[in-house]
């Protein structure tokens, strides 16, 4: 499948943290062509194994991108059928006002997020952000009918259609981190054309947005020699300090900081230069907020890398990425993994 088509499928699909299994079929059927084995673990992570060439001393590389997305959840049903809701993952309440939503009950239901009309607001209110607890979702049915289809705890997503912008840029919801899943797909395609010694475990992790939960347990099980997280980074816009962002269209961000193994970082930079793949540095001195953090501190410690696809307007429903960045991330990842052999591994990991 074309990677952009796959990304569209993922972005338009629904996979709020804890309820990711709706995407299982799409992901498994798409990766199947290139994988040696695929299975789902106890918490719902999808593990896609591509075996390496060296049968004797196979070492393991785990690549993680999270399949869950931020979203909303029904917490209360009002007497007139309005839904009260809470957020799952970090959401700026200002970005969801007036949105169209889909409530994933026993069937998908269309709804809108409403609030008090401006005419009725005090002048002092107008400059204040509206809190989530003061918003409602209207799905247009009376309570009796609502209760037939909706339960407390049902997930809700913003209704959004993945769309191409000018040039190579695309827009959609939850490109964080479905762009990462798509990059893994692009990478496994690349790998099918080149030799690699390592057994590579591509993991679509669950529950990253609520605390990297899937990455902890899947890393424990796989116990890789190297862990690589593919996530998104803050794409630069005028209001953001330059040091906190990476630029759109200039290739993957390679994270620098305590979360990253210095030897592996040196190697991936060298690979990028060798193959003329554009890249930039992303500085995060402490733990990254990605699956890479979970990987690093699992068991006796896993040497870890993090790659970031630049993305604008993170955690809104209009996230923007450049498809070239996604492809370059995949390419860099593939060439890097192919460059690791049982001979150079120990030297790279040594302090």
């Amino acid at each position: 499948m074309d990677t952009k088509e796959f990304l569209k499928l993922l972005s338009n699909g629904s996979s709020v943290s804890g309820h990711e299994s709706r995407l299982n079929d799409e992901i498994i059927s798409t990766f199947k062509t290139y994988a040696d084995n695929i299975w789902i673990d106890k918490l719902g992570n999808i593990i896609i194994l591509k075996r390496g060439t060296n049968d004797q001393s196979n070492f393991k590389i785990m690549v993680a991108a999270h399949m869950d997305e931020i979203g909303l959840m029904v917490k209360y049903i009002e007497d007139n059928g309005f839904l009260r809701f809470t957020n799952i993952g970090g959401i700026d309440p200002r970005t969801i006002l007036g949105q169209e939503v889909i409530v994933h009950g026993n069937k998908d239901l269309f709804g809108v997020i409403g609030s008090k009309p401006p005419h009725l607001q005090e002048p002092s209110e107008i400059n204040k952000a509206i809190k989530i607890e003061d918003m409602i979702i209207d799905i247009g049915y009376p309570k009796k009918e609502v209760e037939k289809h909706v339960s407390i705890g049902d997930p809700i997503t913003i209704k959004r259609n993945f769309t191409s912008l000018q040039g190579n840029k695309v827009m959609g919801k939850s490109l964080d981190d479905k762009a990462g899943i798509a990059a893994m797909y692009e990478c496994i395609k690349e790998l099918s054309k080149i030799n690699h010694e390592a057994d590579i475990y591509f993991v679509s992790t669950v529950q990253e947005e609520v605390g990297m939960r899937g990455a902890f347990t899947s890393t424990y099980k796989i116990n890789p020699d190297i862990g690589i997280a593919i996530d998104v980074g803050f794409g630069s816009t005028p209001e953001l300090p330059k040091g906190d962002t990476i630029d759109m269209g200039k290739g993957p961000g390679i994270t620098i900081g305590g979360n990253i193994h210095p030897g592996l970082r040196g190697k991936i930079v060298a690979v990028a230069k060798d193959y003329n793949i554009p890249f930039q540095f992303e500085v995060t001195p402490g733990p990254t907020g990605t699956d890479g953090r979970a990987m690093q501190i699992t068991r006796e410690g896993i040497p870890t890398l993090c790659l970031s696809i630049p993305l604008r307007y993170m955690h809104t429903s209009v996230e923007v990425i450049d498809m070239m960045d996604l492809k370059n991330t995949a390419k860099l990842l593939a060439f890097f993994m192919a460059s690791i052999s049982s001979e150079n591994l120990e030297g790279l990991l040594c302090y």
């Binding site: 900081g257 305590g258 068991r299 006796e300 410690g301 896993i302």
Partner: protein, 339 residues
């Protein structure tokens, strides 16, 4: 002198190599095994009389510091903090940037050009930059890269009555104690572990504890000391010169009462001064060690340090020596199987 070398070494969290190398060099000939794990922790083992409980003594190697995030057109460096630093201490300090320790200063707007109300406000990190003396971005890029670690420039100075001023006393003081212990103690089995990246979220300790799997752990620290007059006594976390601080509770650990009481007893038996750490703020590697695998009993012993996390930390050599004596006395009891 070991503590001088350790405090003057560079070891901002995630970049502990210099400190690690000094430590390995010091202990190599005195331990039965020493290895560096995948995260950079140093795990040393001292083989002696067998004891049914596995003891691990730890100290973190890293210190707080800064990291370069961007280089502007004038060749000035923008930066972010690594670990918990009070932004107000940064201005007008000397720093060393990157592997080659390029000297730089963190400047400030002259007071003459400031409005009255500006004085009242703390300077934000984004108002500060490091000046290494170059004129252009190109010149700077030859010397410095984005992602370079920046450390405070601070010499080890002895002053006053038995006091020491240095940077990174938190926690080179713990490293120094542990190195001395590994060198001196004979025929007692225990692990000495020097961890990485404590200051950015207790990163190294969990994996190290996973690998060692101890029953009992002692965490050595430099801890906060704020013993100024007129402050209510119960709000003073520790005093200088009143001996090692024994932790009661912090954000990461509720210290085991039986083990804590045993340590107090050992201190009394040996006529050593001790005090309790009277704040529940902060936390340390104990939090991770306590809950790794099936768990470990933990205690934290600290040398009180004034102005912690600043380039001008201050400790008392008396406290250092008494902490070491207490530590040794604990090891003696451990050897007898009485912990």
């Amino acid at each position: 002198m070991l503590l001088k070398r350790l405090t003057e070494a560079s070891g901002v969290s995630g970049n502990e190599k210099e400190v690690r190398d000094i430590i390995i060099d010091e202990i190599r000939d005195h331990v039965d095994d020493v290895k560096v794990d995948r995260l950079g922790n140093v795990i040393a083992f001292k083989k002696g009389k067998n004891n049914h409980k596995k003891l691990m003594v730890t100290a973190h190697m890293d210190e707080v510091g800064l990291m370069v995030t961007d280089i502007d057109n004038m060749g000035l460096l923008k930066f972010t903090t690594v670990g918990g630093i009070d932004k107000r201490i940064l201005v007008s300090k000397q720093v060393l940037v990157g592997k080659n320790k390029i000297f730089g200063v963190i400047g400030a707007k002259p007071i003459h050009l400031q409005k009255r109300e500006e004085w009242q406000k703390a300077l934000n990190i984004d108002q500060l930059y490091i000046d290494i003396g170059v004129n252009t971005k190109e010149e700077a890029e030859k010397l410095v890269s984005i992602g370079d670690y920046v450390l405070f420039h601070g010499q080890y100075i002895e002053f006053g009555e038995n006091l020491v001023k240095a940077k990174a006393l938190d926690n080179r003081v713990g490293c120094s104690l542990l190195v001395e212990l590994l060198k001196e103690i004979e025929d007692t089995s225990f692990y000495g572990v020097f961890t990485v990246m404590e200051e950015i979220g207790l990163v190294g300790a969990g994996p190290a504890a996973y690998s060692v799997d101890p029953d009992i752990s002692i965490i050595l620290e430099g801890t906060l000391c704020y013993d100024i007059p007129k402050l209510d006594k119960h709000l003073i976390p520790t005093y200088l010169n009143m001996g090692p601080a024994i932790s009661l509770v912090d954000r990461t650990t509720l210290y085991n009462m039986d083990f804590r009481n045993k340590i107090v007893k050992i201190a009394r038996k040996n006529n050593l001064p001790y005090q309790y750490r009277k704040t529940s703020m902060g936390g340390n590697d104990s939090g991770k060690i306590l809950t790794t695998k099936e768990g470990s009993i933990t205690a934290t012993l600290s040398v009180p340090c004034r102005n912690i996390h600043s380039p001008t930390s201050v400790m008392s050599k008396n406290d250092y020596n008494n902490t070491y004596k207490l530590l040794k006395a604990i090891l003696t009891e451990y050897k007898k199987g009485e912990l």
